[in-house]
Symmetry: C2
Amino acid sequence: MTEFSAAAAPAAGAATPEDLLAFKRAFRRHASGVAVITALDPDGNPVGFTATSLASLSAVPPLATFNMARSSSTWRAIAETDRVAIHMLGVRNRPVAEKMAGDNAQRFIGDHWRAGPGGLPILDDVTSWMVGRIVERLHVHNNAVIVVHIEAGELGDDDAPLLYHKRQYRTPGDVV
Amino acid sequence: MTEFSAAAAPAAGAATPEDLLAFKRAFRRHASGVAVITALDPDGNPVGFTATSLASLSAVPPLATFNMARSSSTWRAIAETDRVAIHMLGVRNRPVAEKMAGDNAQRFIGDHWRAGPGGLPILDDVTSWMVGRIVERLHVHNNAVIVVHIEAGELGDDDAPLLYHKRQYRTPGDVV
């Protein structure tokens, strides 16, 4: 076992480069599903990003959470709007996962989306999408946990869920 | 596309059986990594559960989140303690994922764990574990989002990360 410690950080909220590396190494052992969050900014322009933090919080009522940095280009929109769209991505959607994680000026250039309920940007051909209302924004340092009450959505054609692990997109493998 | 709506729910916070099914069907299109959260209850007994909601919130400072129901057998401990251990599971750890999701009276019967920092229960042979301090407990209806500031941990032997999708444990497959 390789031990690491963040307790020796020089100040509350700070971390040494070694702690940062250790935390990242630990989380690199974790895999996640891939989602895309979209919204409209205060000027009505579409914004969005690829998220690996989407999780269910409760089924009754239907609540989901995702995490983001408040330094993100999308933060201003998420801070000011009360509505978002959440998309579940299948393996066939890898190109859009990369696009929505790339240059933010390019993310909505193309015909891969359309305006859905309330004008929210809805990505084409995803395995599922849901729209909902932001009910909590928990600020922790320069980050936020967002809680969404899901109000509607659609199921698309099924596909193997897109995975992210060690900076690579993957398909699920065998049942173990 | 199969449309569903939770907006027609009879009351705020409520959902119809159809909404519940639709939300669950949408989240069944999402895959997740598998973690185990452990803590000590107020009597000093080990408690824990298998979580599919673990996510990184920030690397600097090192913050992680997980979600849970406040009706869970582990909630009393998480509500009252300020320290938890988070374990990343590899494919070789599938048996312990099942054990920590099963009968809560049986979860710590066996030699699959030991007391670690501060007496926290640490599972053997996981790919990584971290201990930290709970810095936020956000209550939303009968659920909670828990934010943990990671303070220390260890990396174990590497392994393919254990996945959960459509009620089955899986290994990751090909890069796409």
